[in-house]
């Protein structure tokens, strides 16, 4: 019995492939899924977009001819493209400025202890866990020209006179304000939670010391609290910029870029040109303009991450 049992573990050890013990190969194996994912879903489409943007690809044909920079030349001459770029920048900057300020205010409010705090936290997190498209459809009804709950409520409260009836998604300025509002609604929870985490990481002693040292609320906020939360607020801001600058869903559901392209952004213009308009080459060229912005954000991200490591 014992003579049979003894060699078994040895055989097991031999049978186990020894690359599992090799850190080099094990490392490669573990990182492989991430590499495959990035190559297949980010790298390949990116190369494809570059190839399309230099070609005359359309939805209707299988032929593909190299046309050089003709697509880019056409875009530079296209006033709608420049409008989209400007809209994208305005949309991103305004909504993210609001998100950071409101996120900070909310985080500070939620940092204190009060009754029912968990319920408030849950409600604030809700927009983030709800699917964006469903949330946007909800807002579509809120902004509806006939049924808008905003308009009816304002009229019932006497805020709107008999001749005031804004068409939220139908007037250029209001349409931009509306999509900014929805984007803020959607991204505020994430920013709040990130900033709240940063706020909780500051030791209570620091707050106490600042109080004893005679600093009032605003001095504590601007001299102590904000500088200490700043690195993590920057992370929230960079996330927000990426999400907003590349966002298509909110605009697709609410305005489709209208009225008169007043809410057209680069992502939506690329989609409407390339997919709905069938001009794959043109759409690819437009979408490539997202690239420099996202590269800049990525570099900032890495810098922040490294500074946080050093500190």
């Amino acid at each position: 019995m014992s003579s049979v049992a003894a060699p078994a573990p040895q055989a097991d050890a031999k049978r186990r492939p020894n690359w599992l013990d090799d850190e080099l190969w094990l490392g490669r194996l573990l990182i492989a899924p991430a590499v495959v994912y990035i190559v297949a879903l980010v790298g390949f489409p990116f190369v494809l977009a570059v190839a399309y943007s230099l070609s005359d690809a359309t939805v209707g044909s299988t032929s593909l001819d190299f046309v050089g920079l003709r697509n880019f030349a056409a875009i530079v001459d296209d006033p709608t493209f420049w409008g989209s770029l400007r809209n994208a920048v305005v949309f991103t900057l305004v909504s993210q400025a609001l998100v950071v300020v409101l996120g900070k205010v909310l985080a500070m409010a939620l940092y204190r202890d009060f009754r029912g705090k968990w319920l408030v936290r849950l409600l604030i997190l809700l927009p983030w866990v709800a699917p964006i498209s469903l949330g946007s459809i909800g807002w579509l009804w809120i902004f509806d020209p006939v049924y808008s709950i905003i308009n009816w409520s304002a009229r019932a409260l006497g805020l709107f006179g008999p001749n005031t009836w804004p068409i939220w998604l139908g007037q250029p300025d209001l349409a931009m304000a509306s999509i900014v509002m929805v984007d803020v609604w959607r991204l505020l929870p994430l920013a709040t939670v990130i900033i709240l985490a940063g706020l909780s990481a500051i030791p209570q002693d620091i707050h106490d010391a600042a109080q004893v040292d005679g600093a009032g609320f605003w001095r504590r906020l601007f001299m102590i609290n904000l500088p200490l939360v700043m690195p993590i607020m920057l992370v929230a801001l960079l996330f927000g910029i990426v999400f907003t600058f590349t966002d298509l869903i909110v605009i697709y559901v609410l305005t489709r870029g209208g009225p008169f392209d007043s809410t057209q952004v680069i992502a939506s213009y690329a989609f409407f040109t390339g997919i709905e308009g069938g001009d794959l080459a043109g759409g690819a060229a437009i979408s490539l303009f997202l690239f420099p912005v996202l590269v800049a954000v990525a570099i900032l991200f890495l810098t922040v991450a490294r500074r946080a490591e050093v500190a």
Binding site: P203, D208, A209, V212, D213, G214, A215, I224
Partner: protein, 343 residues
Amino acid sequence: MATVETRALTKRFETANAVDGIDLAVREGEFLVLLGPSGCGKTTLLRMLAGLETPSAGEVLIGGRTVTHLPPRARNIAMVFQSYALYPHLSVYRNIAFPLAAVGMPRHEVADKVAQAASMFGIERLLERKPRQLSGGERQRVALARAVVRNPVVFLLDEPLSNLDAKLRTSARDELQQFQRRLGTTTVYVTHDQIEAMGLGDRIAVLDHGRVRQLGTPLEVYHEPADTFVATFLGSPPMNLMDDGPVSCGFRPEHLLPREAFPAGDAVVDIPLTVTRIEHLGADRLVYAALEPPHTRTRVVCRLPSNVPAPLEPGRRYDFALRPGDLRYFDRETGLKRPAAPT
């Protein structure tokens, strides 16, 4: 400089009173130590003096003025935290300057004051550094400089030495006392370390369960403990207690000596005992023993200085003794001190 006073000061947390009706009067320029085990309410008491904690009841007076409901910045106090609580993103200079900037002092005056405070603690060459580039001792000095820079009327110190290593702690204790004597600022100092308390305090308030058990000079609380808690909290090893009818008799380990160490004619109380264990600490020997009849069998410790060379062995019975004047009496029921033995 100012007096600090609390009247029936109480802080109620959900389950119990952290501070339970404390009346305390700190004299002008005094160094008062709040001493007690962890959870005795000493830090909560200090935070109420600072205004960081709102009392559930009672009053706080600083310089004769009621400040119970004033925020910390209206009290003109300075506090040094156990963690030092330096602002990590500000240089040492700006850390020290922070309390001055908060009261809107002009820039050149701030520079003068910071330079003064820095030279007082010998940290002039550190002014451009960030707190994370400093050693523990340096951080402690910066925290003290930040506390003294705007001439507060009261210093509140929350275990400021507990993050230093043992060697540094001794020298820091010395410096702390010197600078307090020089400035003459009323100081309230929280610690659980009785050596710090004995060495630093003009008076010590011994706290337990949110109450002051005794308030007195270091010698008073050591030699005349008000109750068995104070008697057994202070001293290392603490006071020995033995039951004798309705009273507990207490005596300090250093007072119990071999019978032959006393002159033959002296009136002494005989304490026969059996040695169980001996610890050699260099300057002293700690002798663990069990009392023998006529006393109730109790474990006691005695501290023999190295100039009492009596040969002792574990397991053997010896005749020890102490002077009657070194005995303290406590009521067995209440634990409170009694004037003398019942007859």
